[in-house]
Amino acid sequence: MINEQLVWAIFFIPLASFCLLALLVRPFFNSYSYISGPIAIVSIGISFILSLLTFFEVATNSNHNLVSEPNSWLEIGDFHFTVGILMDPLTAVMLVVVTGVSLMVQIYSMGYMKPSNHGSENAEHHGPEELGKPVYARYFAYMSLFTASMLGLVMAANVVQLFVFWELVGLCSYLLIGFWFHRPAAAAAAKKAFIVTRIGDFGFLIALMYLFFKTHNKGDNYLEISVINANLPGLVDAGLITAGALTLIALGMFVGAIGKSGQFPLHTWLPDAMEGPTPVSALIHAATMVTAGVFLVARFFPIFEHSPDVMLIVTIIGGVTAIFAATMGLVANDIKRVLAYSTVSQLGYMMLALGVGAYGPAIFHLFTHAFFKALLFLGSGSVNHATGTFDMRYMGGLRRKMPITYITFLIGSLSLAGIFPLAGFWSKDEILLNAWDKGDVASIIGFSLALIAVFMTAFYMFRALLLTFEGDFRGGSDKDPEAQAHGPVHLTESPFPMVLPLVILAIPAVIIGFLVNPIKDFGGIPAHWFTHKLEHSLHLPPPPAFDPILAIISSLIALLGILLAWAMYKRNPYLSPATMGRVAGPIYTLFLNKYYVDEVYEKFITGRIYYNGIALISDWIDRNIVDRTVNIIGWLGANFGSLIRELQTGQTQMYATVTSVGIIIIAAVYIFGM
């Protein structure tokens, strides 16, 4: 029932929405910009429905993969770059995640971004009054473009096509982070996001070049993803390319993934990206785009599988990132930043999972995470809507004012913390199980780091929850010294378009863990149906059986974290945060300053080494050596004549003398010279 055209439509409908909004509504019908939201929502809604249909088609199809005929995009000589659709379970899952979360976020945005939401201003926007409407159309145009690009990314059948959309989602991220371009911080964050991810893309690009270099003469079109996955490992086995080459390709791709998914050491852009509108953070920087890195590794999993070295690196990076980000989340005061660190940390989990070979669990976590993290972000937006600030130090006591927000946020937090039986519990547990089960040194290290991260996650999430919703209200944007750019305080529950997505998203945050991938056959759903489906064609070793002990241990650790948070942030804490800060001392400072990584990057590498180093020297060389040489040559040319000109004294006899001497010299040369 689902055919190629309809799959294409999943991609093209949001794109059409973008074109409509960007080329027609924004420039010509800006006064009717309120139609932008519905246009975007309807288009994405259609996509969502089609995606669901596709998902079920793929889920029920024994063939698993629907590969379309590639369409030629660019042919140069013998080289063909094609575009097509690669439809396998991974794609299908991603389609659902992307369209689903996107749909929710768009609905949410209808309320969140609405110019006439309350008074003449929306929550985050304090610009000149006439600017409300343009923002609306522009916003939904970008969002549509993003959705389209993301869909294009997950559907790509060709690695170049994938790279194209890979970059395009980066563009949308750039545009949306910098959505409030009049705020220097937003503009800077947008730029940072783009450049840092570009460093990752540089790795991806090299992988691409290397891949092409190694395979362009090997018959098949090795730019097709299906061909790569099916044949490339075989080439290594056949000795046609070296294992090192494969490793390099995988490594390059992983560098791309590091950049996109905010893994250490390229994670710095993601917290800063919170300068974008909150729905954007929910969609792009939590649920979808940042998972593209994970998706990429998953997409080329056969390659990674054949490169144990890279798998090791993936494991380590994943584990390190998981805990590294979590530590920073412990001390952040901005609620969105807490969530952002949490996102980085959870992405680390997914990488870890991939690193230990747990392909299915990684995607499973991606799947569950998308929903509850989007929920959390939207919740933080809702909070912001009321308080006008994101700084948790100026919040508090919102539980009664905003019950729905509170409950959904609580669900999300519990899910994220991995509390039984919410979605997060199941997916995280799978990862820990796999890491433990793999049992080599790296996996155990990763496992340990992840386990510690579980504790931290629970702690910071409940820290955030308690600071935001419990206790007394601490003034919101009225008190926040940095809140000039934020909205006014009006402590009521958010409007319907914002609450609805919260409620809807809370449902999957609870149920999809068990329902989608139950540990036992459950009401017609086979055990581990989800992961099995995903891993079907990969011939992975059978997954380890559910280990209740491990589950209990991890749950206990999570509860411990919650307990500690409660102890520190309840109304009359047993442990005052300030005391803890003093006790932790330098570590606290280190966490608060994000390990000084930003400083190293911005001040040292960018500033000292590049801007005031290489660039300065190059500029100096250009001005003072290259250009000056030219000028000196010019000056010499212009002034050398003056020397000869000295002979031109105006004395007739001088001239005759010169001539005579000239004659004598010539004569001497010719008569004595021969």
Partner: protein, 182 residues
């Protein structure tokens, strides 16, 4: 008279004339009084006329006397007298020494080329003509030089001859135009 042997008297005359010519030429360029150096120029020109006679060119000697000594020198002296009120004498440049060196080098150069670097034997009448031919040549030089010269001027070089008159016209025109009234 033959073309091969030189009587001693002629030899002597050559030396006297050439020494006189050279010395007076040097005087022309060295004497501090312009008027006197003009007179020495006349001596030089006369010396050259004498040399012409030695070389069997009586007609040229005559021309030399009439054109140079008679006309040019007088013209020069007139010019000197016209501009005499300046009392500038006949000074030399400050860089006369290097110039002298240049001139001496030139002379030495010419000397080297003429005597050392060139084989004249293949070109000399005395070496290359038989007696009969030398007799013809002697006739041309010493007996019939003026008719021969006239013939040449009016046949072979008639164009140059005519052109010289145009040249003189041009010179006269130019000179007249330049000394015109203000």
């Amino acid at each position: 008279m033959t073309l091969t042997t030189e009587p001693f008297a002629i030899e002597l005359a050559f030396w006297i004339l050439s020494v006189c010519t050279v010395i007076s030429a040097i005087a022309v360029v060295q004497i501090q009084d312009l008027f006197r150096s003009a007179l020495f120029l006349i001596v030089t020109l006369l010396g050259v006329a004498g040399l012409f006679i030695l070389l069997g060119a009586e007609f040229l000697a005559g021309v030399q006397l009439m054109v140079y000594v008679g006309a040019i020198s007088v013209l020069i002296i007139f010019a000197i007298l016209m501009t005499r009120d300046l009392e500038e004498g006949n000074p030399s440049h400050s860089f006369r020494v290097p110039v002298a060196i240049v001139a001496i080098i030139f002379i030495l150069f010419a000397y080297y080329v003429i005597t050392q670097d060139t084989d004249w034997n293949g070109r000399l009448i005395s070496e290359n003509l038989d007696a009969e031919q030398q007799k013809v040549a002697a006739t041309v030089f010493f007996k019939e030089s003026i008719p021969y010269l006239a013939k040449m001027l009016l046949t072979d070089f008639v164009l140059a001859f005519e052109m010289v008159s145009v040249l003189l016209l041009a010179a006269a025109l130019g000179a007249l135009a330049l000394v015109r009234d203000r």
